[in-house]
Symmetry: C2
């Protein structure tokens, strides 16, 4: 990602933080920045390691609590990979995931076809659907 884009998203993030009543701390800024820099789906531990390059005393706990808070406030997204630790990603554009059941690798992909899926009427009637999660599962080339 271009540096300008990162700065832009970071500014936007700070604005949203203030709106949600979150104070701006160096830890929070670093957590969000490292999440943006990571191209994958970093776990709490991975983000912690990255943040510690800049703020060596940050605790697991701070990273944990903040990622959860950010997610709950809708500031970032959470990818739930069963069995492994919780993973996170910045909210960029809509996408879906392929997961290799052998190596556990998680791959992003885009699909307008999937993006535009509708919700069956009988579900709409009974539930307030906010999100459609589609995960393809199978085996990736290197594991085959």
């Amino acid at each position: 990602m271009r540096k300008e884009r990162i700065d832009e998203l970071t500014t936007e993030f700070m604005r949203k933080c203030r709106k949600s009543g979150y104070r701006i701390t160096p830890q929070r800024m670093a957590i969000y920045r490292e999440l943006l820099k990571d191209e994958g789906h970093p776990s709490i531990d991975e983000i912690l390691a990255a943040v510690r390059n800049f703020l060596p005393n940050v605790s697991f706990d701070t990273v944990y609590r903040n990622l959860i808070s950010f997610f709950e406030a809708g500031l970032i997204d959470s990818v739930e990979v069963y069995g492994g630790p919780r993973r996170f990603e910045p909210i960029l554009d809509p996408h879906h995931h392929f997961r290799c059941t052998v190596c556990g690798r998680l791959v992003d992909f885009h699909s307008f076809y999937y993006d535009s899926l509708s919700v069956p009427d009988e579900i709409k009637r009974e539930f307030n659907v906010e999100k459609i999660r589609i995960t393809l599962e199978g085996v990736c080339k290197s594991c085959k």
Copy 2:
């Protein structure tokens, strides 16, 4: 589910077990039977409790190991609800899930539209997709 249907599925299950090289034990039969009887998506602990009504000395461990084995052999299905314990269900017909993000309730629904979804070509080229998981997320009536 009708008793005859349960017996039929149980016989089928035993046949598959033998084919997979699994020995038939009272524990295994009870585990599968209780899984069939449960209309929801029981966790290991829930199945354990049910099984213990018949076999009081069964350990968590036996239920755990067997459910995992059954799943890996394709004898039953696994529902992965992040944050909570792993859940299981017998393989009956294809269906999808709605999850309430407030109370955590997991609801089955059927949809031919979702059943017949195809996999994008660029994914097909790179991965062997075995399964499409669709989970709708939102809020159910009682939580609204």
